[in-house]
C-alpha cells in the first residue's frame, strides 16, 4: 500500500469528522452567522418562497400543504431558518414534532423535501458551502419530522 496516500486519506476523513462535530458550538455571533452566509433575510426569503411554490406544485408533497395558510407558512419558515442559523430571530411556531405528528412522513418524503429545498436554495443563488451547512442542520431535525 502507498502509505503517503493512505495518510492523506486519513487526514481528510479526520478533517471531515471534526468539522461536522464542532458544528454544535457554532458561534452565536449574528455578524458571523450561517444566516448571513446564506445571504440574510432577503435571500432566505427568496429560497422559501420558491420552496413553497415547489411544494404546492409537487405531485407527492402538495397534499400535505393543502390546508396551510401560505403567508403564515412563509413567515414561520423564515423565522425558523433564521433562528436555526443564528440570525437572531425568534421562531414562534409549534415544534417540529408537534407539526409533523400524525402525518406519518416517510423517509422518501423527507428526502424529496430536502431535494426540493436544494433546488430552492439554488434559485436564490445561495453559495454551495452555505447550502450544505443548512442541509446539515435540517438533516439533524429528521427524527423530529419522519414516521411520527
Amino acid at each position: 500500500m502507498n502509505t503517503n496516500l493512505l495518510f492523506l486519506l486519513l487526514i481528510l476523513i479526520i478533517a471531515g469528522c471534526q468539522s461536522s462535530s464542532t458544528k454544535v458550538s457554532e458561534t452565536q455571533n449574528v455578524n458571523n452567522s450561517l444566516y448571513l452566509q446564506l445571504g440574510g433575510q432577503e435571500t432566505v426569503n427568496i429560497a422559501i418562497i420558491s420552496m413553497v411554490k415547489r411544494l404546492h406544485n409537487d405531485e407527492r408533497l402538495s397534499e400535505l400543504f393543502n390546508d396551510v395558510n401560505d403567508i403564515e407558512l412563509i413567515q414561520n419558515f423564515n423565522d425558523f431558518i433564521c433562528q436555526l442559523t443564528g440570525g437572531g430571530c425568534e421562531y414562534q411556531g409549534a415544534t417540529m414534532e408537534d407539526i409533523h405528528t400524525g402525518l406519518s412522513i416517510s423517509k422518501a418524503e423527507f428526502d424529496r423535501f430536502v431535494s426540493m429545498f436544494i433546488f430552492s436554495m439554488q434559485d436564490a443563488n445561495i453559495a454551495f458551502p452555505a447550502q450544505n451547512k443548512l442541509l446539515d442542520k435540517l438533516a439533524g431535525l429528521r427524527d423530529e419530522v419522519i414516521e411520527l
Binding site: M1, L12, I13, S19, S106, M116, Q122, F128, Q131, A139
Partner: protein
C-alpha cells in the same frame, strides 16, 4: 456483437432526456457504476444502492466504461436495478484487450472476457443521516468466458465469488461546507486482476481479505473529485499483480446522466509494468 451493444448503449445514454429531476435521494448519493457494475466509484464499490430510489421505489441504471492504459484496454458495460434503497442487482460484461501481449507471448486470443453478477444489500445505517455509516454486504459472482489464457497463466478456476462488506458516510459540512464522502470496503476474493486472469493460482489458491478505500470531495452540486485505492491479491507466478488506484472527477448533469473521468494507475498487469492511463465511464439512470 459487443461493439454493437456498446454503441446502442451509448446512443441510449445520449438520447435519454430527463423528465423529472426532483426525486428522493440527493444528487450523487447513488454513486456511479464501478468497473464490476456495482454502485460505487470507479474501481471500488460503496455501501450505497444504485440510482435514486427510496422506500417502495425502483430505480435502474445502464453504464459503459472504457479503461485505456499504455498496453491494454478494458471495456465494461452493464445494468443494475435498485429497490427501496435496500437491494441492488447488477450485471456487467468486461472485455480485456491484451494488445501487443498476444503476439509477444504467442497467445491463442487477444481478449479476456468475464461476466459479473452482483447483489448488494444495505444492512444498517444511512449515508447521510444519523451517526452510523451506511453498511452493506455484497457478492460479485464472476465467470470467465474462455479459461484458456488464464489457465496458461497458472490460474486454478474460471469462476469465483467475491464477498464484500462496505461502509460509506457522507459528511455534509465536510471541509468548510464542501461535503466529504468516504468509503471503506473489505473484500474476500481469489480473483486475479479482478477475475480477468481467473481465480486462485500457483502461488496462492485461497481466499484473501483485501481493503479498498475511496474518499471524495463534493466540489459543487454537480462535480465530485475523488481518490480510490484497491488492494489486490498476488496469486500468479507468471506475473506479479499490483494494487490499483485512481483519481477521478465525476460529473452529475442531473439525476439521469453522469460521466466519470479518471487517471488510473494499475501497476503491473500480466507481466507488463507501469500500466497507467485514463478511465472514462457514462451512466444513465432511469
Amino acid at each position: 456483437m459487443q461493439k454493437i451493444l456498446l454503441v446502442i448503449l451509448f446512443l441510449c445514454q445520449l438520447f435519454y432526456l430527463s423528465v423529472e429531476a426532483e426525486d428522493s435521494k440527493i444528487l450523487a448519493t447513488g454513486g456511479v457504476s464501478q468497473i464490476e457494475g456495482s454502485a460505487g466509484g470507479g474501481i471500488v464499490p460503496w455501501a450505497v444502492i444504485t440510482g435514486y430510489a427510496q422506500e417502495g421505489e425502483w430505480g435502474a441504471i445502464v453504464f459503459s466504461t472504457l479503461v485505456k492504459t499504455d498496453d491494454f484496454s478494458l471495456t465494461a458495460f452493464g445494468a443494475a436495478i435498485g429497490y427501496g434503497n435496500r437491494f441492488e442487482f447488477s450485471i456487467a460484461k468486461q472485455s480485456f484487450d491484451l494488445g501487443r501481449l498476444q503476439t509477444q507471448l504467442g497467445l491463442p486470443s487477444n481478449q479476456l472476457q468475464q461476466n459479473i453478477f452482483g447483489i448488494k444489500v444495505k444492512l444498517i445505517g444511512d449515508l447521510i443521516y444519523g451517526s452510523l455509516p451506511q453498511i452493506s454486504f455484497g457478492i460479485q459472482h464472476k465467470e470467465l468466458v474462455d479459461f484458456s489464457i488464464p489457465s496458461i497463466a497458472g490460474a486454478s478456476d474460471d469462476k469465483g465469488d467475491d464477498f464484500y462488506l462496505s461502509a460509506s458516510k457522507l459528511w455534509l459540512t465536510g471541509i468548510q461546507g464542501y461535503p466529504i464522502l468516504a468509503s471503506l470496503t473489505i473484500r474476500s476474493t481469489k480473483a486475479n486482476q479482478i477475475g480477468l486472469l481467473g481465480f486462485g493460482g500457483d502461488i496462492n489458491d485461497s481466499r484473501e481479505a483485501v481493503v479498498e478505500i475511496n474518499t471524495s470531495l463534493l466540489i459543487s452540486r454537480n462535480w465530485v473529485l475523488g481518490y480510490e485505492y484497491r488492494q489486490k491479491p498476488d496469486n500468479l507466478n507468471f506475473a506479479s499483480e499490483d494494487d490499483w488506484q485512481d483519481i477521478y472527477l465525476a460529473w452529475f448533469y442531473d439525476k439521469s446522466i453522469s460521466a466519470t473521468l479518471a487517471y488510473v494507475d494499475l501497476g503491473s498487469v500480466a507481466s507488463l509494468e507501469k500500466q497507467q492511463g485514463f478511465y472514462i465511464s457514462m451512466q444513465a439512470t432511469f
